[in-house]
Every structure is written in C-alpha cells, then in structure tokens.
C-alpha cells in the first residue's frame, strides 16, 4: 500500500508553518507514526504535509515553575529516558514503555498522540489524570486549554484548522500508578488506568473504555471507603462499548481489576 501523492513542506519556524497550514487540506506531520500508516492505507490523503520536524524550539523538555513542559517534537523514547520526566512526572515515562515498540517510540511524539486523541492511547489518559494544560498556537496567537475541555470525542479535540499543539504542560509532583492490560506487548490497551494523587485528591483516568479517556469521579470518591466500594462505584463512571475481543461487561470487569491493583499499590484497603 502506497500513499497517494501530496506536497511536502518543511518550515523552519512556526510562523512559516501557520502560513502553510492556511492552504486547503494541509496536515501537520511530526513523528508520523499514526499519520503515515493512515497515508499508506489511504485512510487519509491530504494535499499538503507540513513537517514541523525542523522547528528546533519544539524539541524541548523543560521544568517551568511547577510544571514540566513537553514540546511537540519530543518522542516517546525521550519521555521514557528523560531524567526530568522520571523525577517530576514518572507516570509519563511508565506509560511510554507500553506504547508500541522501540522502533516506533523513537519516532512517535507525545503531543502527536494527544492531538490524535485515540481513545485507547496512553498519553491522553495520563494528561487527564495529571490535569495537563495544552498549549495551542495558530496565526491568531496562543491559547492554553485545560485537558478537561480538550478531548471532544473519538479522534476529536479542541484543535482548530490551522492550529498546532506546540506543547503540553504537566503539573509536577504527587504520586502515580500506570497500569494497562493488552493481549500482547505493544498492542493497544484492552483497558488501561492512569491514576494520580496529590494532596489527598485522587484522579483516575481510564482509557480503552469509551470515545475518549474518562475520569472516574464516583470511584475516586468511594476509594476512601474501600477498594470494593470503589469497584462498585466504577459502574457509575464507565459504560464501555464492546471491542473486537471483549464485551462491555468484560471491559468493566477488567477496569475494576486495574482499579483494585492501583489502590492496592497505594496500600488502600
């Protein structure tokens, strides 16, 4: 399978990229590990690819105040190995090891995964659990979008045509558990859980259980009572659709299993 023909541009600056993205049917190319397969399979056939790979300022992992800022060119492999990530937001480094395989992690990017918004992907759930902020830029300037209003649905986000997700900011600190059930190493998750707690506040973000990552607020509230009560309450948070291999009921069961494992890791009872 070969991609249909398209034009290609590699701008040196974001301003240049915004200009190119004005043309009809242009797409942003960063790591390309989801976009290029969809081109090869002709699920997508844009007229123009704007490769942001040459914009050096987007290749950054920085501690800014109380947050870690991860730029649009940072790969899963960088997330996995960066000392700043391991120290301040270890959940992201843990999640990276579950994503596909080493050769793909060397190219795919964290921000690209957020912008794609695959409901079975790891980072969108991490962003939700960590209460991240998405930094979006376009011709009109920069806007900061809280994660709660970024994911709109299946492969749908708050990103508008002509805009680029230039970075994501993750509050540092707290402690986290990242768990995932998949049929084989590197497969998409059947069910996954990104759990984070900070100052007594617990955030449980499940993935692979809906059209976007889902924050299980009822279960989090009941976690203070008992693991069993939290598992019971999870039915108020999740109503997973079946996938090719699992019924919705099985997925809810698996989500409860992960919930119990996560809470047990924190010695909750």
């Amino acid at each position: 399978m070969k991609a249909a023909s398209f034009a290609y541009a590699r701008p040196g600056t974001l301003e240049e990229a915004f200009g190119l993205l004005q043309s009809a049917d242009a797409r942003v190319l960063a790591g390309g590990q989801s976009l290029i397969p969809s081109l090869n399979m002709r699920l997508a056939s844009p007229q123009l690819l704007v490769d942001i790979g040459g914009i050096a300022s987007l290749d950054c992992i920085e501690l800014q105040g109380q947050s870690i800022r991860i730029g649009a060119l940072v790969t899963h492999a960088q997330v996995e190995s960066a000392a700043e990530v391991r120290k301040h937001v270890p959940m992201l480094a843990d999640a990276a090891t579950h994503i596909a395989h080493p050769a793909i992690r060397n190219r795919g990017t964290l921000d690209g995964s957020l912008a794609l918004a695959d409901p079975a992907a790891e980072y969108p759930a991490c962003a939700l659990a960590l209460d991240a902020t998405l930094i979006i830029r376009g011709r009109a300037g920069e806007r900061k979008v809280p994660v709660a209003s970024f994911f709109k649905g299946l492969f749908e986000t708050d990103l508008k045509s002509g805009e680029v997700l230039v970075a994501a900011e993750f509050p540092a600190g707290g402690d986290s558990v990242f768990l995932e059930l998949a049929r084989r190493q590197g497969d998409y998750a059947s069910v996954g859980l990104a759990a984070h707690r900070r100052d007594g506040a617990l955030r449980l973000a499940f993935f692979g259980v809906g059209d976007r990552p889902i924050l299980a607020t009822h279960a989090a509230a009941e976690a203070k009572t008992s693991i069993g009560a939290a598992q019971q309450a999870l039915a108020k948070d999740l109503d997973p659709p079946a996938d090719l291999y699992h019924s919705g009921a099985t997925k809810l069961h698996l989500a409860r299993v992960l919930l119990a494992r996560a809470l047990a890791q924190w010695n909750m009872k």
């Binding site: 070969k2 190319l29 397969p37 080493p102 050769a103």
Partner: protein, 157 residues
C-alpha cells in the same frame, strides 16, 4: 507546492543526493532507488518490523518515515551493518540456532537485536522478547530467535 524534494542523506556511509517524491517512504527509496533490497517492505503500516533500519543510530520503521524526512540524516541498513561486521556475531548465532526459515524478517530482527545489545547487553529472555515484540516472524515461532540473541548477549555465541 513541491511534490518532489531535492534531498541529501547519508546511506551506509555514502552521501546520496536525489530528487525524491514526497510520498515515497524510506524503505521504498532504499529498495527501489538505491537497490538496497535487504530491508523488506512487509505490512507497510508499522506492524511487522521487516523494514527496520537505523537513522542517526536509532532503529525506526522504514515504512513509517518518509524518505524526505531523512534529509541530512545518517541511514544504516542491513547491507551496511553486515559489511562492517557489526552484526557478525548475531548473524553467526542466527545461523547456528536455525533462527530463520524464509529469512524475510531476519534483517529487521538483526537490527532490533543489535539495538538491544547496545542498550541492554544483560537482557534476559523476557526483555529480549519485549524488545523484539514489534518484529514479526511467521516461520519460527521466535524460540530460536530468542535463543540466538541470548547466546550472543551472554557470551555463548
């Protein structure tokens, strides 16, 4: 807007200049334009790993990188790594352990195995399996491949 891009890259130590169609992925460029047919195009959507090559020292999927994205980069293929002797111990072990039948997956397997050898030379069987999880073999059932890599990592190769 350009559908073809003048591109300069280094392939197995040799500088290559070509006008490359933007839609052509790296493994097709290596095979069809340069005649380096050791890297194989299998699934062409990033699942099978037969197209694995090294770019700037890191393994990547040759079908998931456009050839134009390799501009200014250093590409190494099974041909270069085989000629340099870098893979010799792994190749001997694959031979000794019958770690291939048809051989279609073998160049990708060798590159992934070499990557593991460089990054985690003490890897055990489970880590070998995890590192090779993105490389499919439809003949051997993997046992012999893991055996071969284990031999090399643990000095039996």
């Amino acid at each position: 807007m350009e559908h073809e891009v003048d591109t300069t890259l280094t392939v197995n130590g040799v500088e290559v200049r070509r006008r490359i169609s933007a839609r052509q992925h790296l493994v097709d460029f290596l095979r069809d334009e340069l005649g380096l047919t050791g890297s194989h195009a299998g699934c062409e959507h990033g699942v099978c790993g037969a197209c694995t090559v090294r770019v700037d020292g890191e393994i990547i999927r040759g079908c998931l990188m456009l050839a134009v994205q390799a501009s200014g980069r250093r590409v190494e293929t099974i041909e270069g790594l085989s000629d340099s002797g870098e893979l010799a111990a792994l190749q001997r072990a694959f031979h000794a352990r019958n770690a291939l039948q048809c051989g279609f997956c073998t160049p990708g397997m060798l590159l992934a195995a070499r990557d593991l050898q460089l990054k985690n030379p003490q890897a055990g069987r489970e880590e070998i399996r995890a590192h090779l999880s993105g490389n499919y073999c439809r003949c051997t059932g993997y046992q012999a491949i893991v055996d071969a890599i284990e031999d090399v990592l643990h000095g039996k190769g």
